[in-house]
Symmetry: C2
Subunit: 189 residues, 2 copies
């Protein structure tokens, strides 16, 4: 997807509004107002609120997909791969927590092909993560625990990081990363 | 809170509807219809949709509060205490996942004193959990990692369990508990 500066600005402003009020409650007029432009000029750049939602969610989902594909295909150890997945979630959380909130809260407002495409990416992401863990269990790098419990507890933490980290900016990203790796991989005991 | 059978039925039916459609979209008429009674007879048992929301959320929040208070005050080791917290979340998830969904999605629709009371219970719960972890770090039972990262990653998993476990009923509760304790306490490596 190629995005102009003006479009990028619209996306950022809209993501923030969607996060604050929920997708359904936000109008194109609200977005124009927040950008201090006329609603009519907003339509020069973007067709509809739906198009904005697609741009926000699909872009971020494609980033998750392409990075995990690369991690999965790499020759790294399982531990290194999981560390890279943790890094990926921290990076996107730091860079774009409004878009992550939008992805988590509003993905169900996508329609037709966009919805199908998103759900496919989401399922493929989990499947790639499952493959990483499976390989790790098979080669003895990961404990032989219930794989679904491992996947759920790791991804539930990484996927909700944006909710929590916004309020805890006192923790430096490097400290967050190091501690997250410790807690998720080696446990707290 | 003392709850009659009829009231309990209303609460269960409403929690299911709130989970499916969201609190705002559900009417008293919908609840009556789902129970196959007239809206007028619904009002013999309950004043308003708001009252139902309060009954659902406050009851479950009070259960979390009273159990964690008991755990915190007990003479158990830190490990045992955390195991009991995990057990508490699994128990409530198994028994009442609709109410948990309602608590997580709709608590912000509580008003006035109910909202204040709920937020206080939620903060106190986190504070009790923080005390358990703090004591564990002080006496060497828990690794000296960033305490906020430990609290976030443990509670984010336990609090979203209801979202995931509904679809994974193939895992037996004992297996879930044993694996959850392993993953959260000892890690996956």
């Amino acid at each position: 997807m190629k995005i102009t500066d003006r479009k990028a600005e619209i996306i950022n402003v809209a993501a923030k509004l969607f996060k604050e009020k929920g997708y359904s409650a936000v109008t194109m007029r609200d977005i124009a107002q927040a950008m201090d432009i006329k609603a009519a000029s907003l339509y020069n750049h973007i067709k509809s609120k739906q198009e904005i939602l697609v741009l926000i969610i699909i872009e971020i989902a494609e980033e998750f997909t392409s990075v995990i594909d690369e991690i999965l295909a790499s020759s790294d150890s399982t531990i290194q791969k999981i560390e890279r997945v943790i890094q990926l979630h921290i990076d996107i959380t730091l860079r774009n927590s409004d878009a992550l909130a939008c992805l988590n809260n509003d993905w169900m407002h996508l329609t037709d092909d966009d919805l199908i495409y998103f759900i496919k990416m989401r399922n493929d992401y989990e499947e790639s993560f499952r493959q990483i863990i499976k390989t790790g269990i098979a080669n003895g790098e990961i404990k032989n625990l219930n794989i679904e419990v491992i996947i759920f507890s790791t991804l539930s933490t990484l996927r909700t990081l944006y909710l929590w980290y916004g309020k805890k900016k006192t923790i430096k990203p490097e400290v967050l990363k190091a501690n997250m790796i410790q807690v998720l991989l080696n446990g707290i005991v």
